[in-house]
Symmetry: D2
Subunit: 302 residues, 4 copies
């Protein structure tokens, strides 16, 4: 089975100024990701404002990414939805368009009561994707569905033939180790909290899916490279830059700030959808001022 | 403006054994609600597994209720959705079919950061319903969007012309009083936690929307009547029966148990959708055994 | 067994400007409570900054209250402590000084894993008080020990001979009903959330322990009286005044503001202890301005 | 300033079968720690059931450790307490007995509202320890006091002359990096979640304080050694053993199981104090069975 290494951007979903979906920026974003040697794009995930788009819009986004992805850039489609049947439709669509893989998170309005209920929810979604690899996307901070990830992994491995691993956006690094070790490392774990990547490389992580990989992949490449050559001081120094980045994201709102940053690197993704407040000109200028000193971006932002 | 008094069932959404939507039971449910003197049915809400149905399914459910509701039974359509545009489509549809009112809860995967962000999210949804009365549905235990309800009410009153009040499913009875008193009681508050109704009648509540009103409205009518004649002992005794009911619901899972109870009173609503586990025959028999002694149901259940 | 009706102030613990314990104001406070027809004072509880005082200080406070309480004013001593042995010492002391009853909350740094563990923790504390009546003080918002209160009540009734009831500072009004009904109402429930008292009178509550009873007992007497004569409009209007009060408390910090209010009614209790910030002159003036219009206080505050 | 490297056991506090404090096992424990090359013992912390012992008992424990600690084994005394004045007394006592350093956590019944309120609470405690180094002990999972640790560090560095760093028992590895980098690494950070130590060594951690260091320091020494020679596979394999250990701890209750394990390695610490249930013979046998295969202990446990 294919394994991913390095930075997989969780792509933003571009909008027109009126909030309508805007597919136009996708080709250039896809080219940029390919140039950055990203092995794949993870589309329609949390960063892509999944739950804020209609099912038809999400299909259109996935199709546009698949159509414009240069050779070498896989398209992984997030199909998670509170409604299992919508998720199944999205998974079937991902299969049709030839996506590389699908992923789904837990339903979060109605919450599964047990890990088994969760896997029972996921099974038909994974099945709808046929033989595409299926990743469970664990993000308890957003879903409030908090189960030991290794327990979910075990149940999913038993019940879902195309289960291949996890997108792991959880702070539980104990369970992460258990997942990485499960059945001799048979399943992949893509880590999802960019600003602590270095800690997880030590535990055996090889690649990650994250929002800051959209615009700051160079700093992460330097982290991977430093670790590979045993230069931990450099790795820490570079990772610390991402901590400074995330401080700004937290201060202004992670998702809305991240999407606004895209405009600063020449890939304007337009406004964020409600319930998030748009980033106005003045706030954007302030964000730019705070970020300009950080040497982490794909292209200069000042 | 119209005000509701008494019990408004938050209707279950019927399914076929395979989980497909089943509109067939709706007419009889609507007649039963009318016979029970319920002033309205609240459809496609949490009890109706809102987030587990597609937008098209939700439209079909709302239309069926509107078509089959006897004179005197209003249909209030819950149109809340994580995706504002889906919610707007549902609200526009509710207007088209001639619903009596619409209601929407807060988005809960992506959460508004402030009460203002919440009201900005709701405004276009309410607008899509035209002049239909709009209720904000506050249910922080499910959404984890926890704002002072009176603050939201004030902002909504300013920003949303057709805002008429709240469906209040929160345990914060301090803010409830503030909402009831806001602008001299200009806005309606429908209470949503059936098993403590009596406590809120003392604060000025006149009616409620709840799941147990589907099958147990007689006990609540007795509570309203007892309060009206100042017979608090009877009111407490009757309310205590609903506490015993809810103990069983909590033990077996509120939503899945409630939907299963419908089959015990002759209005089989079929299985619940994932992520909830279905109630099997043995568990149903156990639930029936536990509930049979309670004198609260629309029709005998043993 | 004795039952309490009406308002039992959870007394503030007075301090000198340097933060040292100050017993001097206690006699006047005790007289004021007696004049207000309060049946008891609940001392060294949360309002009394229990956990911020040493065991010796808490003994001194309890002894001072007992010594100065006029006839008719019972002294209930809160002896809860994270350390069971400290709590036992406080309970034994309460017995020695002739307190009317003792109460203890759950340990909250180390938390019991089950209701049984909680009752096993409480049992020796209650035993140390000999035959004094023992109340379990349930306040999950502070302790994060969240068990169904009726379950704890049942276990305590079985295991603790001198268990007489609960001080109930929880928003769970469903379990409250179950507690009130347990064994035919054999156990007392004193309600602890003053600003929703009216809701709980409807459920059968007869009296309460709370912080605002220190300075605002008149408004609560009017509520009790209005309910007794069936005048619900007055009861709601009066209860609403306490909602306005609590809005100010919430805005400035409940405990620190409440203690500061004591100085506004002529019973200066001095500064609050860390970790709360003291209320300075300007903030006190602002609090006074906000509260002055409320007609609820023992004595004029402007 | 002195820096610690390696494993600092957060020592259990021994009790007699009746729950009374038992100082007798301390000398042998101290010798064992010294033999294991532990640079210090952290006494009267969470693992030492801090909040379950009286102030006098805590002083006796600290004094016994100081008296019996072999040369080379520092004694760091945890003096945190909900009551600031008790904490100050403990800090003054630690100074008197010649402890190497003191540490205190946040008050957790009454919680500071801001980082400044927290530091204002800590300042007099640190001052009471004179010139002894002072560590803030951040453990939000227990205290529910959740502030950005780097913000607390900055304020503490400004306000507390003898502030030297943190005992960091938080899962927030982003803020950890910021703390490690603060003022060029001027302050020490001792990590407190043993089972993810490896992740934090990558971020710059040099030593930790933890409960499993009481009985399993050999496995951690192998982790430190493997990392030092760049053998990450061995490091992961060894760390994974501790994950298996912690799974057993979580299953049976972390603190009560850990204390019981001491009896399995020949340092019986007696029963745990309430509110934790004691570990009976059968459960102990079951724990032994589960742990025996793990090659991590100071001495054989089967």
């Amino acid at each position: 089975m294919k394994r991913y290494t390095g930075t997989i951007p969780a792509a933003y979903t571009p909008c027109l100024p009126n909030g309508d979906l805007d597919l136009a920026p996708i080709p250039a974003m896809a080219r940029m990701f390919a140039e950055q040697k990203c092995p794949a794009a993870f589309v329609c995930g949390s960063t892509g404002e999944s739950h804020s788009f209609t099912t038809d819009e999400r299909k259109a986004v996935a199709a546009a990414w698949k159509k414009h992805a240069p050779a070498g850039l896989d398209v992984i489609v997030h199909v998670g939805h509170n409604c299992q049947r919508e998720a199944m439709a999205l998974a079937a669509h991902a299969k049709e368009i030839g996506a590389a893989a699908v992923s789904a998170l837990a339903p979060s309005y109605f919450k599964p009561a047990t890990p088994k209920d969760l896997v029972d929810f996921l099974r038909p979604i994974a099945a709808a994707a046929g033989t595409l690899p299926f990743y469970f996307y664990d993000i308890p901070s957003m879903t409030n569905v908090v189960f030991p990830a290794d327990r979910v992994m075990k149940l999913a491995a038993e019940a879902i033939p195309n289960f291949v691993g996890l997108k792991y956006t959880s702070s539980d690094l104990m369970r992460l180790q258990s997942c990485l070790a499960f059945e001799g490392g048979k399943y992949e774990v893509l880590f999802g909290t960019d600003e602590i990547l270095l800690a997880t490389l030590a535990l055996g992580i090889k690649g990650g899916v994250g929002s800051t990989y959209n615009y700051a992949s160079p700093v992460y490449r330097r982290i991977y490279d430093a670790v590979a050559r045993g230069d931990h001081d450099t790795a820490r120094r570079e990772q610390l830059k991402t901590v400074r980045l995330v401080e700004v994201l937290l201060e202004h709102g992670v998702l809305r700030t991240g999407k606004a940053i895209m405009s600063l690197i020449g890939h304007d993704c337009g406004p964020i959808r409600p319930p998030f407040a748009p980033v106005g000109k003045e706030e954007l200028a302030e964000i730019r001022r705070k970020l300009a000193p950080l040497d982490i971006f794909v292209s200069p932002i000042s």
